[in-house]
């Protein structure tokens, strides 16, 4: 398909979907990114896309709106429940593809570097690729390869490989897997799964990274993947070519529950804490994994789990998804910090001492929000794996 044809197809698909919008505004009522203006929410963004195509008007204002969405998917559920069941998040992503690939109007200027880094260095932060496995030094975790068979590949993901907060997750999960006697390994040359590239509309880069990653899995003879990164998990299970081509892919919350049920993992030490759980968007709403993390948390002796006002499919976003990790929304649009602070306030309202999550993005963002609210003494943001490792 030539470029012109592809552009026409994207525009046609967007138009055919958006023309069906009932304009009921229900989607805006649940959007975590909306501050006060109607334009800030999925309703306003999608109307802007619709009229941009109709009037062939693709400018910076449109770009700023289209890239402000965190792709949390809360609007999709609302639209399905009470209106026309439009895939609003998908349409916004498609518009990003149109802006980036066809109109040269995207992504956001700060995101350009992140995309280049994904391509050149295999991670959005641009950290050296040879430092990717530095977190594992001294932990004696084998590199999976054709010659070093592993039963389970731990796919670490960029955030848990490079970010100091995320690395805690990688270390905790590795400790748990070792304790359970799992024959697991990591990839020496693991690269970005491409999930965030797709969110930013860089579908070509996503295709390149997904093919490279699949090739790596194939070369190392991988059959079973466990990850702590819901973003990669979603891409592997929903977006990769043939959805991973027969690979078994699990989030660690699924795998650890299985290990406990089989008696391979025992949680014996009491952790007397009152905790609440934040559903990461790409694990919860997008992948519909709501109960496994909760089951896992409640297997820890001594734990009291309390729910926030918005939980499971109704959970609020941390604000960093959809490429927002690498941009600060332009003036007049809600900052990621403000979104994360709202979520932390919900957690504080439960009286929990620990805000648990199961995603490195959420972990980083919510931690920052706790600091900006000066509530470090009241509540800690911790990944479920860290709590599990305390109970071993």
């Amino acid at each position: 398909m030539d470029e012109e044809q592809r552009e026409e197809n994207i525009e046609r698909d967007l138009n055919e979907a958006l023309i069906a919008c009932e304009k009921c505004h229900f989607c805006n009522t649940v959007c975590p990114v909306v501050d006060t203006r109607i334009t800030q929410g999925p309703f306003g963004i999608n109307r802007a896309i619709y009229y941009a195509i109709k009037w062939n008007e693709f400018n910076e204002e449109l770009r700023d709106l289209v890239y402000s969405c965190s792709t949390c998917g809360k609007c999709d559920i609302m639209c399905k429940k009470v209106s026309r069941a439009l895939p609003l998040t998908e349409l916004i992503e498609k518009a990003r593809e149109l802006l980036l690939v066809e109109k040269e109007a995207g992504p956001m200027p700060e995101q350009v570097g992140a995309l280049k880094n994904m391509h050149v260095r295999g991670n959005p932060w641009g950290s050296p690729s040879h430092e990717r496995t530095k977190w594992a030094e001294g932990l004696e975790i084998p590199f999976a390869s054709k010659d070093r068979h592993v039963d389970v590949l731990y796919f670490v993901g960029c955030a848990s490989s490079y970010d100091s907060q995320g690395q805690k997750i990688a270390k905790s999960l590795s400790k748990i897997l070792k304790k359970a006697g799992v024959n697991f390994g990591i990839l020496e040359n693991e690269t970005c799964s491409g999930h965030e590239a797709k969110r930013m509309g860089e579908t070509g880069l996503f295709a390149y990274l997904s093919e490279a990653t699949m090739e790596m899995f194939k070369d190392a003879g991988i059959q079973h993947i466990v990850t702590g990164d819901p973003h990669s998990f979603y891409s592997f299970t929903h977006e990769y070519p043939e959805h991973g081509n027969g690979l078994k892919v699990q989030h660690y919350s699924q795998f650890l529950n299985e290990l406990i049920e089989k008696g391979n993992l025992k949680l014996s030490r009491k952790v007397n804490k009152r905790v609440t759980y934040h559903d990461p968007c790409y694990l919860g709403r997008h992948s519909e994994i709501f109960e496994e993390p909760r089951d896992l948390i409640q297997r820890i002796p001594g734990i009291t789990l309390v729910e926030m006002e918005n939980a499971r499919a109704d959970s609020d976003c941390c604000g960093m998804g959809g490429g927002r990790m690498w941009m600060e929304p332009p003036q007049g649009l809600l900052s990621s910090q403000a979104i994360a602070e709202r979520r932390v306030l919900q957690a504080l309202a439960t009286g929990a001492e620990i805000l648990l999550t199961a995603c490195p993005f959420c972990n980083i963002t919510l931690n920052d929000a706790v600091k900006s609210l000066e509530k470090e003494e009241t509540i800690k943001v911790v990944d479920i794996t860290e709590l599990i490792s305390m109970s071993l």
Binding site: H25, F26, N59
Partner: protein, 471 residues
Amino acid sequence: MAVNAEQLAQDLKSIVGEDYVHTDLFERVNYADTSLPYDVEEGDLPDVVVHPSNAREVSEVLKYANQRKIPVTTYGSGTSLMFGTKPKHHGITISTERLSSLEINVEHQWLECGAGIKTGQVIKELGQLGYFLPIQTQIGSSVGGAIGVNTLGHLTDNMFGGRPISHILGLEVVLPSGEIIETGSKCLRRPAGWDLARIFIGSEGILGIITKVRMVLTPMPETTDAVGFFKTVEEIGHAVGMMYREKFPLPMDGELVGEKACKVGYEALDLDFPEGALAITRSMGRTKEDATENAQEMVRLFNKAGATKAFILDDPEIAEKVWRVRENAMRWGQERGLKGYLAIEVNPTLPRLAEAMTELSHITEGRTDLIGETEAYLYGHVGSDSLHCLFAFPYDWPTDKMKQVVGEIWNLEKELQLKYDGVGGDWGWLPYRVPFFREKYGETAYGIIKKMKQLFDPNNILNRGNLEGEA
């Protein structure tokens, strides 16, 4: 307009601040678009969208506009089904979205809120304290907009003391001249004589901009739902008549769905319900026992009126599905590839409710106009004698054809309201029902409203074109 758009934006920024004045295309489009089936055209756009944060800023904007005779359109949430927020003469669109304060004062037994706060937010916060908002419009609508139309949404008239006008203790209003007035007081007694609030409630934003609302608190009732399945929708019409005549306890909310809408709804939701039409009611009581007793009365009513099946909805999952059949009535057209739609509201007198249902059930048959090419779905309210009919049509119809069918549908609504002696219902009058108002009440009555408009807004800046019936 006396000033150009650039100067206008600059001047308004000096009133509300740089961040709260928008002139870019997509902002203006969003504040002009409505749920009309056809698109906004460039001529419909405001020159500028402004977001004041308090009555003083609203006042300054209105003073500025009034001195220069610049049209001002007020925007609450844009969910009006009369589409009054679409500017007819460019100018300034004032959004009340930042007027979103909320104080629930249990000591004084009132709530006070900014006009721009969404009803969903107020419903949620009141609910946490055991109170109820007697305005059940869709959760994204603004309180100011609902008060401006005096709508109670889906609630049965009189169940909570009537329309919002009965709950208002006071208003803050900015007049087109920029003067700010307050009505009422903070005590629970409302004035028996002149109460200026009553002039603005239901005036659809043509006399002033409501910026703050004070309402008496209403305790949250206990509720129980019931459902009745009927062979035909007309049987539900008879049931509603019987409910009033035989003094059954009225439900606080009740909905009906006609045969055709039920069929596509059941298919879409994969429900194994009896064929025909359905009625669902929400009965209330001070205690759960009271509410359930009243719901049992609804079951008795449905059975007496010939329901094939009727029962209390004590399974929340089934209850949710039944409510969804009604809530999604607007979606069924799409299931058949008909994406465009427009709904009407007809309020027949009680004795003629079933007759109107029959007519609406066959409304497209034999017609040679564009309505004859649409697919019609009937639904409505059980608590009040109020019906809706949704006309669905292909969205790829050209704009002119869309506009023609919209005109035909409003005209049909007018003819039906006149025939069945109905009123404007819950969506207000302006601008589309102006011809109906003039025909039903006459030119003298319409002239009184025009004189009031002239008195409050001699330069006709506020929502210009709405009272004139401009589409």
